[in-house]
Amino acid sequence: MTALAEDTRAVGLERPPLWRRVLGSDQLAGWAFVTPAVILIAVFAVIPIGWAALLSFQANNLLAPAHYIGFANYQALAKDPAFRSAVVHTVIYTALFVPISIGGALGLAVALNRKIRGIRFYRLAVFVPVVTSTVATGIIFLWLLDPTFGIVNYFLHAVGLPQQKFLQDPNQALYCIVGVTVWEWLGFDVIIYLAALQGIPQDLMEAAEIDGASRWSTFRSVVLPLLGPATLFLVVWSTINALQLFDEVYVMTRGGPIGSTTAIVFYLYQQAFSNFSAGYGAAIAVVLFLAILVVTLVQLWIGRRRVYYAS
């Protein structure tokens, strides 16, 4: 080591001055580059995570100083019939929304993945609802599904079917919200599936054809397995989204009629920002987070065993 140091000195390679070494060092550059992001993420992601957990053990009305009440929020939550029904609604919603939107998108993507006349128009039609806002979608469907003046009832009437109350009927409202959100998100799922379909190597399809595979068995044994990663992503992503249903409920039903569409995040919002029980709301948030975490991990675990990754 000393020999080497002497050598460099002998050759005349001097170490750059200290200020240059400090300013030019990777340590300083690295930290300088990440500092703004670290501060923002710390303040608006890391601290809130801890705070949410802390809040859930407090009685906090967003105004007066909070005080600790231990597990009282969680105990109340376990006994709260309104929370239980919010969970039931959310589970029903998710169990319908995820398979319908993903299954529908799969069929639609296969249909859209071909060169026929007007295909650009069809694709555009399917994609436009994705950029339409949730609030606008809610307002549009509120009017489409209006029991008295709605165009959907008009179509039902035209084909001789009885008129429905849709969003004003406690037995139908949740299913209407499933339909509206499927309309809204179908295009996103189709985009993901189309990208995956276009990534399937053409020689695989040709090989299946040469081997005499029918169209259906090619789809089942070649295409579907290759869509596995896209499907897994969509299942995880749609489930997380579905468990957080809020906008459409707020705009179209405000949780009604008679609480039949109150979902977990809507209940959380009501508790924290209408009833000013932020501690109770935070307990709901923590439960929701744990539920999302468990569901996601289970899905990924099943996915890891079932999904085939080509690369």
Partner: protein, 294 residues
Amino acid sequence: MATGQTAQAEPLFRLTVPPEKPRRRLPFSPWHLFLMPVAAVMLVPLLWMVIVSLETASQAQRFPPVLFPHSFHVQSYVDAWNAAPFAHYFLNSAIYSLSTVAGQLLFCSLAAYAFARIRFFGREVLFVVLLATLMVPFQVLLIPTFLIVKKLGMVDSVGGLIVPNLCSAFGIFLLRQFFRTLPIELEEAARIDGASRLAILFKIVLPLSLPALATLGIIQFLWSWNDFLWPLVIINTDTHAPIQLGLSTLQGGHFMEWNVLMAGTVMSQIPILLAFFFAQRWFIQSLAYTGIKQ
């Protein structure tokens, strides 16, 4: 293509199989029979929104509905514009969207470059913490984020809308993955020439990363333009509201004619729909990219 295979087998069986009825071929692809109704279901709600917005109040409130009004009634748009501070809504939304897009592009690029290329003390730990925050959805953090913004004195202001969205773990992750695919030789050559890290990022890495930057920018724009829950929580004054919240206030307000409400809804969607039509390919690639990369 499938016919090529049956053609080979045909001579063997032709004698035993009764002559097939000539298959009736549709003059168009049968897929149209499936795609046309689907396109109708997707488009009719939006067309209906536009049609109702061009009707008079009495036309809108009629059963059976007036499907094709004879004349267009533009007054609904004037009424909508006067019924709510739409100019404020649009301005607030534009500020909210554009400044969060700018913030995300700047802060995420800087951090992503450091995570991708610079070795510094604590990098791995920071990155793991970052990935962990990706797991927690915003809805779960709604209440504490509200309290933090309140402590910063930014409740009921556009600034309060913006600050929590200036940077995201998602954006850093997305850009880092992209930066790592770039050839490192260019950067090394620039470093030997004495370029600083900042110069390398802005002169070499970012110009090569336009697809990834566009993806992040478009997703952030789409997200903030359509954001509803966060504005609903922190904005109380109507003139501070972005467009989606304003629209919801208009709908939830007192008696509102449907043609006027629809005119407001059309107006609220025009900017994003225009952006979508002109940059369709970019929008779709961006959305596809988020799916593939996760």
